[in-house]
């Protein structure tokens, strides 16, 4: 299990040594359960950092913003940015490196291993708690999460509230890192592409129906563009196409 104190200590050391400009990690939000991205600039602030099963978001996207900001500065700070990554996030980072969008020297990777667990699905948890509002969620020994609600603590089996993608994840340990927290465990997954195979085995018409249903949710808010780390072009070809269709 990742020890939060280790994470804070590591963050504090690199900040004090001046190895990094700042650290992008997870912070407690006003809502309580789901964290918000935190930008830690001073060693004193590291106490804000958290690591819980609710750290769902991929922070890699902030490197895209960082690169843009840096390109506008006259005398940019050349030090790398510290970034907390989970196994899955590290793969996004690898693609950004492969596409040469960022260079390896620009990022100091603090890898956190999910080990046998993963991150939660907010909806699944809400269903499980039956209307009680979760205020805090923590890792527990042996495949359990401890959820704190207003009525006290509840133990929840990880397999019941883990996000779908975590149930068939093989990248539970970051594939690339400067420092790794937690243990390197190979998770045993029989078939990592179960949900994909399910869709691929459907007949044409069913597949079309499935995607139509998925895309019917789209209200063209472009949040997908702001959240996906692979979406980093300055000029977007989609803008033009969308304009043509909306005409």
């Amino acid at each position: 299990m990742v020890n939060l104190e280790d994470l804070k200590k590591e963050a504090k050391t690199v900040l004090e040594e001046g190895k990094v400009k700042y650290i992008i990690g997870y912070e407690k939000s006003a809502n309580g359960l789901m964290p918000v991205p935190g930008f830690i600039k001073n060693p004193e602030e590291v106490e804000k950092l958290i690591w819980t099963p609710a750290c769902v978001y991929n922070l890699t996207k902030f490197l895209v913003d960082e690169k843009r900001r840096k390109s506008k500065e006259k005398k940019p700070d050349e030090r790398p940015v510290g970034l907390v990554v989970k196994g899955c996030d590290s793969r996004a980072l690898v693609v950004l490196l492969q596409e040469k969008f960022i260079s390896r020297e620009d990022v100091y990777i603090i890898g956190v291993s999910c080990e046998e667990m993963g991150v939660i699905d907010e909806k699944k948890l809400a269903k499980k708690l039956k209307g009680k509002k979760a205020e805090k969620i923590e890792f527990d020994e042996k495949d359990n999460f401890i959820v704190t609600t207003q009525e006290g603590k509840v133990k929840v089996a990880a397999s019941e509230v883990l996000a779908e993608r975590c149930l068939e994840c093989k990248a539970n340990t970051p594939v690339i890192y400067d420092v790794l927290l937690g243990e390197k465990v190979q998770r045993s997954v029989d078939n990592p592409f179960q949900s994909l195979e399910k869709i691929e085995s459907l007949p044409e018409e069913e597949r079309w129906k499935f995607w139509k249903e998925q895309l019917s949710k789209c209200i063209r808010c472009y949040a997908c563009r702001s959240v996906c780390p692979m979406c980093y072009c300055d000029e977007c070809a989609e803008n033009k196409v969308a304009g043509e269709i909306a005409r």
Binding site: I199, E200, E204, E205, E206, R207, W208, K209, F210, W211, A237, V241, E244, I245
Partner: protein, 140 residues
Amino acid sequence: MAEEFEPKIVAFLCKWCSSAGSDLAGVSRMEYPPNVVPIQVMCSGSVSPLYVLSAFNKGADGVLVSGCHPGDCHYIKGNFYARRRIALVKRLLEFIGLEPQRFQMSWVSAAEGTKYTQIIKDFVQELKPLGPQTKLRRDL
């Protein structure tokens, strides 16, 4: 009597081979179905997936991308890029549930007028039983 369905095909033909091939078919007065709308591009490698999707969006029943034979590209390796990219688009379209016959790729050299007519004939024959393409078409 109901009219037979005539599919509309958009063909992206590379300037150096396929377009010249279709031209040869024309000047040699070979007969082939009039269902195809040729669009000349400089290289099959310049065909963006967006062109293909846009053609379907505007009501094409089938899309054909045709370039030089592998190894014969005027720009040395443009058609290799095309081959990779088009294969990906084809698989994507199949994955979302479009009939795989609706999108095809072929290699036609400048001397292969007959081959071009044959490809169009076969394509039209394949598209006729499928009926109009409504999935990716925008509502008019």
